[in-house]
Symmetry: C2
Subunit: 229 residues, 2 copies
DNA sequence: GATTGTGAATCCATTCACAGCG
DNA sequence: CGCTGTGAATGGATTCACAATC
């Protein structure tokens, strides 16, 4: 790590936060929101960990990654910690999100309150079906995919969700990348090929069920043997 | 390896397959389906890994976990490998799935073709809203939550999806567990408290966006410094 | 010759346990 | 004394690299 680089930084070290930690920060943030609403002003690692569903050692290690200062003997300041995590996650910047593919799932996501609540606004919808293009959905016009480049540029969109059928997904991804999108949340069950500077996260609902199926299978076999889990 | 007969056997060791491997098996299975449709009868670890979006060493290690026999110098038999993975995942058994919470997201999932395609049938819908209870959705009646215990028992449902608001989710989970459900896919943004024999997987869409937001943030900061990845 | 299966090496994540501090 | 922050220990997962096998 040859970063001969000063620390004139807000909060903490920039990019060397482990992925596993990053994936949990949103959970901590959410728990902190709940605690703040309940009126708590400080919280111990033990209590926050319980609220987020992890153990306290892991929580403390995670928070130490972002240089957060709790107070020994007391705990963490709820408001300050919220602010700090929001900063690290980049949630203080506003993020406009595009959604491509206005089928059942796309419609549900377009109307999902959970996004707006947590700092994301879907600000453009795209599809290719002539039945859907031109209709309104959750206050937004469904546009034709052809308009994607101009709209993405105009609205400075850097994050997109793909909820198209799998066969269309790669083409859509190519188009998004060319338009300047650098983060993609892919709901289509297929592998996307994108340049190295583009982050893709995949959510595959059938895969989740299949993983659960494995555990069901395992449990039902386990009946024969007296192994407790 | 005390396996006498490679094919008449229930493949391999039961429960000591690493979680990380289990999470990838569905991806391999999906890739194999695609390859099978394309008419391939054998596939190398290199090609299958590419189709599944992983590297070949990982793929081979994963497959070796389930005792799978490829053929050195040739590759894997597509049909046999599909069968083997399906067995391990317990997909040869039929799984009936309950869905609780017929809001936007629930409606979308109830109509999601991707489940049926891959071996899961949603066979019961529940809600508490009097506006929704009694309506039909995707050929299924939306039932009141009160009917959950009897229906879950009658249909032998062991897997459920929760797509309710977060405040209702714990109560629903309790009810599911009491009715005999042992695997839950939770879309509500909250931590569920369940007995140790129940598996919960959580899908939080806002969390996915927040993780992407972090990477956006990181990338935009990275513009200042010329650090290579 | 090609490709699998796998020990060994490496990397990353979690947990432990306690020193350090309020 | 209580609780955080963290080095050290442990445990998994990934990658390497090559011997075994077809």
């Amino acid at each position: 790590m040859p970063t001969g680089d000063p620390r004139a930084n807000p909060t903490a070290d920039p990019r060397d936060i482990p992925d596993a930690t990053v994936a949990r920060l949103p959970e901590y943030l959410h728990a902190l929101h709940t605690l703040a609403e309940a009126g708590l002003s400080t919280v111990s690692s033990e209590a926050l960990a319980a609220a987020a569903g992890v153990n306290s050692a892991k929580l403390r290690k995670d928070l130490s990654q972002l240089g957060s200062y709790g107070i020994r003997g007391v705990g963490y300041d709820v408001v300050m910690l919220k602010q700090q995590i929001s900063d690290v996650l980049g949630l203080t910047r506003h993020h406009s999100v595009a959604l491509v593919g206005v089928g059942h799932l796309g419609q549900a996501l377009a109307g999902y309150a959970g996004f707006a609540n947590r700092g994301f606004a879907i600000s453009a919808l795209f599809d290719i079906s002539s039945e859907r293009v031109g209709t309104m959905l959750g206050g937004l016009l469904v546009r034709h995919l052809d308009e994607l480049p101009t709209v993405v540029a105009a609205e400075r969109i850097s994050i997109a969700m793909i909820t198209t059928p799998p066969l269309a997904a790669q083409r859509v991804a190519d188009s998004l990348v060319k338009a300047g999108v650098t983060s993609i949340l892919n709901f289509a069950p297929c592998v996307l090929d994108v340049p190295g500077n583009v982050d893709v996260r995949k959510v595959d609902l059938a895969v989740e069920l299949q993983i659960l199926s494995f555990h069901e299978h395992r449990k039902s076999q386990g009946l024969n043997e007296k192994e407790a889990v």
